[in-house]
């Protein structure tokens, strides 16, 4: 049987964002994959140089809604390094809280879609309903469900009083048993395991070659987590066990994400318990001097790196970022080799590609 081409994307029910895979198939087996990007390019990097340094905190938050806390976080870290601003202790912990809440919601979203893609819609609904707990937390604590606007240069834009902490704690107590139950489900449900184990395998060696980051790397057995390797904010004072898998398949990536969501609950509790008193940010805006630096943080999808160069003027001279999905989607060609047509969407989703981050 000769091969023929099927288009997956740019708009495809199984992909949340536009991405175009030209898949050469032989029957049901993939022979080659050609990834075409660029459908969601909005020129945000250029825009950052047309906005002031402070306006860019808002702009970078709007690059992508799922990583919407990580972008301004890394950007603020870079500016703070250039200006030599010391982050108040309380703000360091509050940034961790904002980041981990977003991480739980983002990971649950991804594993929910995973269930949808194998046709297990009840599990999809259940996980999405569970994710709503975190969405509610975001709306209550930050006033928004996705763009939470938590960061500002030199601090955070929100504070948690006793009521807020009690509310957070209560919601975490509500989430934890359901999440534990979901983890057991993903670990033991035959229907899910049959479709995801041994699918889209990225071996340890391949993962190192591709330089993948985040849960994709950790599922292939690379214990790399920026929160541990290069602690920022309050992570050096918190216990962050790195979650790794061994198989590097779709299932391992789902399990790593779920385990990380579970760990995030513990991190949030540690933060709530240790939260120091004091200022949450600067009272006045500072003039940012000339300089350049690199800052990085662990976004839900992996290591997010920001390069910022300033020249003493109100606008930055250059802002450039490398997003985790950029490293991870290159590995898709390896994962999709010899895959079945039925598994294409599943494998693509397992790297949790964030197109709007990557193409900005």
């Amino acid at each position: 049987m000769s091969t023929y081409t099927i288009p997956v994307g740019p708009l495809h029910v199984a992909l949340e964002e536009p991405m175009y895979f030209k898949v050469e198939v032989d029957g049901e087996t993939v022979r080659s994959v050609d990834i075409t990007a660029g459908h969601a390019h909005r020129g945000v990097e250029y825009l950052t140089t047309k906005r002031s340094i402070y306006q860019n905190v808002t702009l970078t938050e709007r690059i992508c809604s799922l990583c919407s806390n990580s972008h301004p976080e890394a950007y603020c870290m870079a500016i703070e390094t250039i200006a030599g601003i010391e982050l108040p202790q309380r703000a360091q912990y509050l940034r961790v809280i904002a980041g981990e809440i977003k991480r739980i919601a983002s990971h649950l979203f991804n594993v929910a879609i995973q269930a949808h893609l194998v046709g297990f819609d009840s599990l999809f609904m259940h996980v999405m309903e569970t994710r709503e707990i975190m969405q509610d937390v975001k709306e209550t604590l930050f006033g928004n469900r996705m763009e939470i606007g938590a960061n500002t240069i030199g601090g955070v834009r929100f504070d948690l009083d006793a009521d807020g902490l009690a509310y957070l704690d209560a919601q975490l107590a509500r989430l934890q048993p359901i999440l534990d139950d979901i983890i057991t489900h993903y670990r033991t449900n035959r229907s899910f395991i049959d479709r995801t184990r041994g699918i889209g395998v990225l071996t340890h060696a391949q993962a190192l070659d591709c330089g993948v980051v985040g849960p994709v790397a950790r599922a292939s057995g690379i214990a790399y987590d920026v929160r541990v390797k290069a602690p920022y904010n309050a992570y050096d004072r918190l216990d962050v066990p790195v979650q790794t898998g061994t198989d590097g398949d779709v299932w391992s990536r789902a399990i790593v994400r779920l385990s990380e969501a579970r760990v995030s609950i513990d991190i949030l509790r540690q933060c709530a318990a240790d939260l120091p008193a004091g200022e949450t940010g600067p009272r006045e805006r500072q003039i940012i001097p000339a300089g350049q630096t690199v800052a990085k943080c662990e976004a839900p999808r992996g290591e997010l790196i920001y390069y910022v160069k300033t020249d003493g003027s109100p606008n930055p001279e250059r802002v450039k970022w490398r997003v985790p999905s950029f490293m991870n989607w290159g590995a898709l060609t390896l994962m999709l080799a010899e895959a079945k047509v039925a598994d294409i969407a599943l494998i693509v989703n397992s790297v949790d590609p964030c197109i709007s981050c990557t193409e900005r």
Binding site: E28, F120, M125, D194, K340, V341
Partner: protein, 316 residues
Amino acid sequence: MPESLALLLSVAIFPGGAFALALGLGLKGIDRRVAARLQRRVGPPLLQPFFDLIKLSRKKTMVPDAACRPLFLALPAVGAASMLLAAALVPIANVYLPSPALGNMLVLFYLLVVPGMVLMLAGSASGSPFGAIGFSREMMLMLAYESPIVLVLVAAGLRAGGGDGIVLSLSDIAAYQQAHGAFLLDPAMWPTLLAFAAFLPANLGTVPFDTPEAETEVLEGPLLEYSGAPLGLFKVMSALKAVVVLNLGICLFFPATPDGLLPGLGAHLLKLLPMAAGVTLLRVSMGRMRVDQAFRFFFKWPLALAAAGIAAVALS
């Protein structure tokens, strides 16, 4: 009433035709509502499948340039017509006996293959690569589930024959059970019953066997290019097919109903509901199988069970 008129009525009004269509769409509405409630959603109104059908009938029909136009447009009608006829072929005990002129179990078996064939041809006639994948998946799945169903029909026929060969008339199989007790309560028929239970979701194309039309994998495969009235005819086909297959299950395993037209019909409908609920429950409680997994599953379990069913019938 002249026999030709009675035949026409049985195909067009009751128990095929309008009645079967309304029943099929009603069951679909219940299925969607129950599934939604099980997933803690509100779900669509019970009459949504009817609304969908009315909407589709008023929509414009698009035919892709790459499609084979006559075939593309004719196939949905062929599929719906085959099921219309099939619905008139299944007896409902105490309510309806199909005329022998319509045909026996073998005719029904052939008619039941038609929807699958139609979907396969429609997939390839649409000229879309996803349709082609749907074609190959439908073919594999049909190969897998058709062999157990043949054995199921043979086992039921043999059992109703009572040792003197095979009975090919569904009315006779139903009559035999009314005289000797339902096959549902007959241990020798239990393997056959299980094989039929596996055939049900595969033939209806629901999770875990909805691979040919999987939305997230092949964008509904053969149906991808269809729109308007032809798509509506496919919906009619699948609604009628659900009624035919469920009726067949009742006829093969527990046809007994109280005397009289209305009590008989009421009992029949009451039996349909748990069967349809079973399909719904299965569909919400698991994910989709890959086509090779489904293929292997059918050659492992239902086929073995159906063969064991024949052996059990032959031995007892």
